[in-house]
């Protein structure tokens, strides 16, 4: 057996003997990616638990289990963990770290030590965020949006959360920076930008958003902290500040952030669809460029969160107009994926099921996004459950679903083992049904005027919340099921071999499985497109000892 990255590693300092320290100090991108996954997964259950608590509370009108303040802290905790700890770092830090260098034929990212540092910065941020749970004042109760002046005047421990979000933002910036340099500098010879796999394009566009949007929210949080401690009235109306400025600054980051979440997820989709259709992707350049243009246009539309904030009507109109243009490149992507299935050979393995499921759910999420992009309609729907359902369809039914697709897809690459397909598919169906039951009724409730962040509601809405509760139970059951499948697969799955899916991109051309420490035995010369199939078989073949093409 050749040695894999589980057996040996490079470390940031020294040459520790113990396995534990080797993991803690590792600078290997694959190990760091795995550690991110482990940590996220742990926090994740905290957020899922709070989500479940909220659904339980909302099961019937009236205060059942928790009071208003606890509920307010619950959705803040849920939002903060889901956004800052989980979904923003999510796909880039886990899949991007593990797969992206392999895909471009690099031995590691450009700054492996920085990558290590970033990971620990991320952990620090997580600790700060959760630490306030154990302080007297308690976790922040502002919602993940921290709107001033509420966040300035509330007595809960907002400062911890703000600092945590800042630290996590730094980590996000550094990840993006690292990836940008990696993609620019470390592509294997011959691999031009137009020969990069589409996942790398997704990561590339994402990295730009991480780099150029995150600082804005970083400084906004700093200003809010300054305001709390030094009494500068930047956002506090009592001192002449304007709360709407805070909303601007917050959404200048947080809107691009939603594309930061979805673009790498779209990248995952673009890998899975051609592989399981056994043919070349339709419209490679269109998909690649649409990632870039979503990222670009995404900077210009933040104001659609401010339609009812008191912003000038002319600004609303401009923002509304621009918002629609994000839907066009997204649509192009979707049609390209569907066209890729045309005259292919569709293999419905679990990753493909997740991908196709996402096409349905994200389409609903995206199209309802278009509804609320219409100003007049959003004036009614803003801050109702319609919006909540929109973003859960986009984030959970888009990003998280594709994250799961990616986890299934690259599971054999990372572990060298295969999970049980039958069980994995069952887990998918359970979650897919549960998810739609969970969130679809919320569109209707929102449409009838059910505002969000309400811990108690008028009896008229009860039926929707109850259906939704049933969905949540199914969904979470499916979730647990899926993780059991993963766990079993890792422990006792069959060896998968380096390329179980018959895929074409470079990460599947490994000399051994799981991959060795420094990835490819030698760096290949890339003179081929990422998805070259001929009659359903990968065209490019390598001699793994020399990494020379032998087809």
């Amino acid at each position: 057996m050749s040695k894999s990255y589980f057996d040996e590693t490079h470390t940031a300092i020294g040459h520790p003997k113990s396995t534990f320290m080797q993991w803690m100090l590792t600078i290997d991108h694959k190990r760091i990616g795995l550690m991110y996954a482990a940590v996220m997964f742990a926090f994740f259950f905290v957020a899922v638990a709070t989500a479940f608590l909220m659904r339980l509370e909302l099961f019937a009108p009236g205060g059942q289990f928790i009071d208003g303040d606890t509920f307010n802290q619950a959705f803040t905790l849920h939002g903060v963990i889901m956004i800052f700890l989980f979904i923003v770092p999510g796909i880039p830090a886990v899949l991007g770290n593990i797969v992206m260098p392999l895909m471009i034929g690099a031995k590691d990212v450009s700054f492996p030590r920085l990558n290590w540092f970033t990971f620990w910065l991320y952990i620090l941020g997580c600790i700060i965020a959760l630490a306030s749970l154990f302080t007297d004042a308690g976790f922040a109760d502002t919602g993940w949006t921290f709107y001033a002046p509420y966040s300035i005047t509330t007595d809960t421990n907002v400062v911890f959360t703000l600092v945590a979000a800042f630290v996590l933002g730094m980590a996000s910036i550094l990840t993006g920076l690292n990836f940008l340099v990696t993609i620019h500098r470390l592509r294997a010879p011959g691999m031009t930008f137009w020969k990069m796999p589409l996942f790398v394009w997704g990561i590339y566009a994402t990295a730009w958003i991480q780099l150029l949007a995150t600082p804005v929210v970083g400084i906004t949080l700093i200003l809010a902290i300054m305001e709390k401690y030094f009494g500068i009235g930047i956002f506090d109306p009592a001192k002449g500040g304007d709360p709407v400025l805070f909303e601007h600054l917050f959404w200048i980051y947080s809107h691009p952030a939603v594309y930061l979440m979805i673009l790498p997820a779209f990248g995952v989709m673009s890998e899975i669809i051609p592989t399981f259709s056994r043919r070349e992707v339709f419209g490679y350049r269109a998909i690649a460029l649409s990632s870039a243009s979503i990222a670009g246009i995404g900077y210009l539309v933040w104001g659609h969160h401010l339609y009812t904030s008191g912003m000038a009507d002319i600004a609303k109109t401009i923002f509304s107009f621009l918002t629609f243009f994000v839907a066009i490149p997204t649509g192009i992507k979707f049609y390209d994926w569907i066209a890729t299935m045309y005259k292919g050979k569709i293999i419905l393995s679990t990753p493909m099921l997740w991908a196709l499921g996402t096409i349905i759910t994200f389409t609903i999420g995206g199209l309802t996004g278009v509804t609320i992009a219409m100003i007049g309609v959003d004036i009614h729907l803003q801050d109702t459950y319609y919006t909540v359902a929109h973003f859960h369809y986009a984030m959970l039914g888009g990003v998280v679903f594709l994250f799961f697709a990616g986890l299934h897809y690259w599971f054999p690459l990372v572990t060298g083992k295969m999970y049980n397909e039958t069980h994995a598919k069952r887990a998918f169906y359970l979650q897919f049904v549960g998810f739609n039951l969970l969130w679809f009724p919320m569109f209707i409730a929102g449409y009838y005027g059910m505002p969000r962040r309400y811990f108690d509601y008028l009896p008229e809405f009860q039926i929707y919340h109850q259906v939704s509760f049933v969905g949540a139970v199914l969904f979470i059951a499916g979730l647990i099921y899926m993780f059991i499948v993963f766990f079993k697969g890792w422990k006792s799955g069959n060896p998968s071999g380096p390329n179980p899916w018959n895929a074409t991109t470079l990460e599947w051309h490994m000399p051994s499985s799981p991959p060795p420490l420094e990835n490819h035995s030698k760096v290949p010369y890339v003179d081929f497109n990422p998805y070259e199939y001929h009659h359903g078989e990968p065209v490019v073949k390598f001699d793994y000892a020399t990494m020379k093409r032998i087809d």
């Binding site: 040996e8 590693t9 490079h10 470390t11 040459h15 600078i27 690099a106 031995k107 590691d108 990212v109 450009s110 700054f111 492996p112 910036i173 920076l177 690292n178 940008l180 340099v181 990696t182 620019h184 500098r185 470390l186 294997a188 010879p189 011959g190 780099l211 150029l212 949007a213 995150t214 600082p215 804005v216 970083g218 400084i219 906004t220 700093i222 200003l223 300054m226 030094f230 009494g231 500068i232 009235g233 930047i234 009592a238 001192k239 002449g240 500040g241 304007d242 400025l245 600054l249 200048i252 030698k522 760096v523 290949p524 010369y525 003179d527 020399t546 990494m547 020379k548 093409r549």
Partner: protein, 229 residues
């Protein structure tokens, strides 16, 4: 398990050879990374400038009056100090690249001295303002004082932004000292000076920011309290 760079060659089907870029010893990559970092600084200050412009737009007259009350002479001296320090830092890098390690170190020391002078003058300025009752959580800036919103916001942003800028100067001094240590340890050499290069870049961005901070705070009111906007 060392991770030294082993030069590698990729070979295409015709047998042509291509040099592979490793992550180790990637001078341009290091520089690119640092530039990207500087873009984040630009966005950070950009956002603060936007907040400033926002309130400037709401209170144009008060901004001009408040600006007129700042000490332009001290601000100007600080500008000159920073510009000269940019020169000394640039020269130190130049000397390093040309092989004159000793001269390079001398120039770094000169930069540090200039940076300290900048901070000193800043301290004098802030003290004077404090004595005039203008400081965070103090005197005229307290909520109950009668100073107009526009001025409060101007001074609030002034202390925030010059404060954060000053913080960058302090960090700059810190990393220059670290650089000296690395030079003495032989880790930064004429043939391996990416750290030196990036710290020089850092120092440049610090006064690049000052180039905008200075006129926005000190000069917009220079045309007199009625000066245009």
């Amino acid at each position: 398990m060392s991770h030294e760079y082993v030069p590698e060659i990729a070979v295409d089907r015709e047998g042509n050879e291509y040099k592979v870029q490793g992550w180790q010893d990637d001078f341009y990559g290091g520089k690119l990374g640092f530039w990207l970092f500087m873009f984040t600084e630009v966005l950070m200050f950009g956002a603060m400038f936007m907040a400033l412009a926002y309130y400037n737009h709401l209170h144009p007259q008060e901004f001009i009056e408040a600006s007129a009350s700042l000490n332009r002479l001290l601000g100007g001296i600080n500008t000159v100090i920073l510009l000269v320090s940019a020169l000394t830092m640039g020269l130190s890098l130049l000397k390093m690249r040309a092989g004159d390690v000793k001269g390079s170190k001398l120039m770094i020391w000169a930069t540090i001295v200039l940076a300290l002078a900048f901070l000193g003058i800043k301290a004098v300025e802030w003290t004077a303002e404090y004595n005039h009752g203008i400081f965070l959580m103090h005197g005229e800036m307290l909520p109950e004082s009668g100073m107009s919103f526009g001025k409060k916001l101007f001074f609030g942003m002034y202390f925030t932004m010059t404060g954060i800028h000053g913080f960058h100067i302090i960090i700059g001094i810190g990393i220059m000292l670290w650089l000296l240590k690395r030079i003495n340890a032989g880790k930064v050499r004429p043939d391996h000076h990416i750290l030196h290069w990036n710290i020089a870049l850092y120092w440049d961005i610090v006064h690049l920011i000052w180039v905008f901070v200075f006129p926005y705070y000190y000069m917009i009111g220079a045309g007199g309290a009625t000066g245009g906007h």
